[in-house]
């Protein structure tokens, strides 16, 4: 029973949503189910947030490695949660938007979360550099093609790209590097993308069917 009912739910809900595409009066099921998902996700957060607190309190209690930082995490979580839930310092009253300008919530977001997030994102520039040096190597024919395509696109975006082929007459302008870069984006790149995209579509269909039919059921846990 404990596994049969969930399998039945998956089957019925999945089938219903497939069929709803062909039955106009069911057309709004998709919206309804998306709303339900949002609601379930908030409830699930009680589990996630609770887990976050538990892990760090545990670290603190057992004085595990790096435990002082757990104090910071807990404090940050509690402060931000309080600022958001009680709308501390929000202009107007409780009816104002949670992130109204001037609120403690939006102040913390702007002065703490935003710089952290933007900096973490910018690390990407460094890793692009290290990956370029270390990993983009012409080990075989496939890797060489990847390299050449990347190189032409990159070159097309620097003044050198224009310079190198500026002698090419406009009548064969396709051979100028910036135009070559555009052509690569619009032809071979598009072809590869399409093959990948169509493949993904079929992969999703097959996997969804396995889930709906209950062939794939690991997410439902064990028998107990």
């Amino acid at each position: 029973m404990r596994r049969q009912i969930p399998l039945l739910i998956t089957f019925v809900v999945g089938t219903l949503l497939i069929v709803s595409v062909f039955i106009p009066p069911f057309g709004e099921l998709e919206t309804t189910f998306n709303i339900w998902f949002d609601i379930i996700a908030v409830f699930a957060f009680f589990l996630g947030g609770g887990n976050l607190l538990r892990v760090h309190i545990d670290k603190l209690r057992k004085k595990k490695r790096d435990w002082p930082f757990s104090i910071v995490t807990i404090a940050g979580f509690v402060v931000m949660l309080a600022a958001g839930l009680f709308k501390i310092n929000n202009p107007g009253d409780i009816a104002s938007a949670v992130d109204a300008p001037g609120s403690l919530f939006s102040d913390i977001f702007n002065s703490v979360q935003y710089p952290l997030s933007a900096t973490m994102y910018s690390l990407l520039a460094f890793f692009v550099a290290s990956a370029s040096y270390r990993a983009f190597r012409a080990k075989n024919r496939e890797a060489t093609l990847l390299l050449i395509a990347a190189f032409i696109i990159l070159l097309g975006r620097t003044p050198f790209g224009v310079l190198v082929t500026s002698w090419v007459p406009d009548s064969t302008s396709l051979l100028q590097i910036p135009n070559m870069a555009i052509w690569i984006m619009n032809a071979p790149n598009l072809a590869g993308q399409r093959a990948i995209i169509i493949g993904i579509g079929l992969g999703v269909i097959s996997m969804s069917l396995r889930l709906i039919l209950g062939l794939e059921r690991s997410y439902l846990g064990g028998e107990k």
Binding site: V42, V72, L116, L146
Partner: protein, 211 residues
Amino acid sequence: MEHFALWLGAFLTLGILSFLYKDNAWYKLSEAVFVGISAGFWFATLFWDNLVGKFWDGKGEEPMLWVGAALGLLMLFRLLPKVGWLSRWPLAFIVGATSGLWLMNYLASNIMSQVQATILPVFSSGFGAGFDADLATIVGNLVIFVGTFTGLVYFFFSKEHKGVFGGAARVGIFFIMITFGASFGYTVMSRMSLLIGRIDFLLGDWLGMIG
């Protein structure tokens, strides 16, 4: 306050950047702040948008919403060992809904539209005036057709990549590699402007070194 926020921002920015040298206490501190604050941020946001926004702000009458709430409550049954297994119901619901929804979406947008868009002419009688432009289009179409076709051959699972089939699969993987190269080259530019923005903040806003 403004001043404090600036210094705080710079302190945290440098803390994250210090990870590039190696993992250290400064990074750990920034990371701890980040995790705590952002988890709180998302919970507060979800709480107001998805819970209060849906149930209290005048929309609570819709009976359908309460089914969602019931599923959400079932999720919390995990906290009670005896009935914890009930939390599989909302999970089963989500898995079913996601599978059904995406099956149809992917069929329509990933397969049908893409197949339709690949039906292109690979030769034209219209060569003449504007020959160049037409030739470029025709060659482009031919490349798109061959690339898409052989790319699909590469993804075949139930046939060994041997002989002609293997050759086609190899051409397919060539196209896929060009695609990856192009995406890489294309993304690099926007990635660099992120770093420019951060350095601008450190050198300009914080240290005031830029005129």
